[in-house]
C-alpha cells in the first residue's frame, strides 16, 4: 500500500515523473511496433474473408482501434483537465496537453478510414449517421482544446488552465452529444445500412485476435507518444529549473 502511495506522489512531481517514465519509452515503442506489425500482417493476409463484405472488412483492423483510442484519450484529457484545474498539478497538465495531438489524430484516422470504408459499403464517402456526426463533433472538441491552448501560448500557465476548462466542459458535454445524436438519427433514420453490420460479421477468433492486438498496439503507441510529448512539455515549461538542466545534459551524454 505504501509503495503505491509513494509511487503516486512521485508521479506527481515533474522531475521524478520524468525520471521514472523515461525508462518506459523504449519498451513501449518496441511493443507498439511489434504488435502493430503482427496485427496488421495477420489481419491483412491471414484472417479469413468476411462472408458479406469480402476483403473490405479488413479496414476494421485500423478503424476500430483508432475509434476506441479517440474516445479513450478524450476521457484521459478530461480527467487530467479536472486535476489540472482543481489541484494545478503540473504533470496532469503535461499529460493533458500531450494527449491532445494524438487524440485528434486518432479521431481523424477514424473519420478517414470510416470514409474509406463507407464508399465500398454504402457507395458514398460520407453519410450523416449518428456515429460519424458525433465523431466529427469529437474532432471539434479536440480542436477546441488545442486552439484554446495555442491562443494563449505566450502564457503557458493561463493557457493550460483555460484549456483544462474547455476539456472539462467537453467532458460534461460528450455524453450529451453522443446520446442526442444517436437519438436524432434513430428517429429520422433514412439510411438503410447501419454500422453494426460489420461487428456481427466477427465471429471467429481469427478475426478478433488481430483486432485485439491492434487495440493493444495503439494503446502502447499512445503511451509512448504521450510520454514523449509530456516530457517535451515539462522541459519547456520548467526550463529554468535545475532538474531540466541535468536531464538535458544527461541526454547529450547518451548521444555524444
Amino acid at each position: 500500500m505504501n509503495r503505491i502511495v509513494k509511487f503516486y506522489h512521485e508521479m506527481g512531481s515533474p522531475p521524478s515523473f520524468y525520471r521514472i517514465t523515461q525508462h518506459w519509452l523504449m519498451p513501449m515503442l518496441l511493443l507498439a511496433l511489434g504488435l502493430t506489425a503482427y496485427g496488421l500482417i495477420e489481419g491483412l493476409f491471414f484472417a479469413p474473408k468476411d462472408y458479406q463484405q469480402g476483403d473490405s472488412y479488413r479496414i476494421i483492423f485500423v478503424h476500430v482501434p483508432a475509434a476506441w483510442m479517440s474516445m479513450f484519450i478524450y476521457a484521459i484529457i478530461g480527467i487530467c483537465g479536472i486535476i489540472t484545474f482543481v489541484w494545478r498539478m503540473k504533470v496532469a497538465e503535461a499529460v493533458m496537453m500531450a494527449s491532445v495531438p494524438i487524440g485528434a489524430l486518432f479521431t481523424a484516422v477514424t473519420l478517414l478510414t470510416g470514409m474509406l470504408w463507407g464508399k465500398p459499403m454504402w457507395g458514398t464517402y460520407w453519410d450523416w449517421d449518428a456515429r460519424m456526426t458525433s465523431q466529427l463533433i469529437l474532432l471539434f472538441l479536440y480542436i477546441g482544446v488545442a486552439g484554446m491552448y495555442a491562443a494563449y501560448e505566450e502564457d503557458p500557465r493561463k493557457a493550460a488552465r483555460l484549456a483544462a476548462l474547455v476539456a472539462i466542459i467537453g467532458l460534461v458535454n460528450l455524453p450529451i452529444i453522443r446520446y442526442s445524436v444517436y437519438w436524432w438519427t434513430s428517429i429520422h433514420q433514412t439510411s438503410s445500412i447501419t454500422l453494426t453490420g460489420g461487428s456481427e460479421g466477427i465471429h471467429s477468433w481469427d478475426m478478433l485476435r488481430p483486432l485485439l492486438v491492434m487495440a493493444l498496439a495503439t494503446k502502447f503507441y499512445y503511451i509512448y507518444s504521450m510520454l514523449t510529448r509530456a516530457h517535451t512539455y515539462l522541459l519547456k515549461t520548467e526550463a529554468k529549473k535545475q532538474w531540466v538542466a541535468q536531464a538535458v545534459s544527461k541526454k547529450s551524454g547518451a548521444k555524444p
Binding site: 505566450e154 500557465r157 526550463a239 529554468k240
Partner: protein, 212 residues
C-alpha cells in the same frame, strides 16, 4: 476600524518566463504614499497589476491585513491602469453612476455632478466618454476615485495626459487623500513633486542573476 495594511513581501513578477526585477518588499499603511519608479519596461505596470489582483506573482506574497489578498482587498482598493475602464458609448455621468452601483455606493445626482466638477468635466455630463480628449478621459477615470472613497488607490501613471492644472489638482487630491487616512501606490516618470511627497520609494532594478 482596524488598521488596514498591505504587505508586499519579496515579490517578483515575470514576463515570458523571465523575472523582471529583483524581489521588492513594501509595507503600506493608511496615510502613506508609495511611489514605484524604474525605467521603461522595468515592470512597473506588471507589478501594479499583480498587486491589484490582475496578475500572478512569480515569487513572494502579498498580504492584506495579514491574510492573503481576497475580497477584503478588492473591497478596499481601486486600480487605475493604462486601460482606463471608461465605457465609450456611455456618457460621463452614466459611467460614474455605473461604478457607484457596482460598488454598492449610494450617490445622488448632485454628488456625481460635483465629482465631474472637481475633475474639470463640468458641462460634459452628457458627453460620450469616447468623444473626450485624451486628458479628459483620464479625468473621468480619476473621477471614480473620488466617488468610491476606497482606502487604497493603485494608480499607474496617473499624471499622463493631464495638463498642468490637472497635475496640480491631482497632486493636491493625492495629498488630501493621504492626509485623511488613505493610502496611495503610484508610478510616475518625471514628477518631482510627487516623488518628494512619497513615504516609500520602490525602485525596480534588474534581477540579480543578470548582474552577477
Amino acid at each position: 476600524m482596524t488598521t488596514l495594511n498591505l504587505q508586499v513581501k519579496h515579490v517578483q513578477c515575470q514576463r515570458s518566463g523571465e523575472p523582471l526585477f529583483a524581489p521588492i518588499s513594501l509595507h503600506l499603511r493608511p496615510g502613506e504614499l508609495a511611489v514605484v519608479a524604474g525605467p521603461n519596461g522595468s515592470g512597473k505596470t506588471t507589478l501594479m497589476e499583480a498587486i491589484a489582483g490582475l496578475g500572478l506573482l512569480a515569487e513572494g506574497s502579498i498580504q492584506f491585513n495579514d491574510a492573503d489578498v481576497d475580497e477584503q482587498w478588492l473591497y478596499h482598493s481601486h486600480y487605475l491602469g493604462h486601460k482606463l475602464g471608461n465605457k465609450g458609448n456611455l456618457t460621463c455621468e452614466e459611467n460614474l453612476r455605473f461604478v457607484c452601483h457596482i460598488n454598492q455606493i449610494q450617490a445622488t445626482n448632485q454628488e456625481i455632478e460635483q465629482v465631474l466638477d472637481q475633475v474639470g468635466l463640468s458641462g460634459y455630463d452628457y458627453h460620450f466618454a469616447s468623444d473626450l480628449s485624451a486628458g479628459q478621459k483620464k479625468r473621468l477615470a480619476l473621477g471614480r476615485l473620488l466617488l468610491l472613497k476606497k482606502t487604497y488607490w493603485l494608480l499607474d501613471e496617473p499624471f499622463v495626459n493631464l495638463d498642468q492644472a490637472g497635475c496640480e489638482w491631482l497632486y493636491q487630491t493625492i495629498k488630501y487623500h493621504i492626509d485623511h487616512d488613505g493610502a496611495v501606490l503610484l508610478t510616475a516618470h518625471d514628477q518631482k513633486k510627487i516623488h518628494q511627497l512619497a513615504d516609500h520609494h520602490v525602485t525596480l532594478c534588474e534581477p540579480e542573476e543578470a548582474i552577477s
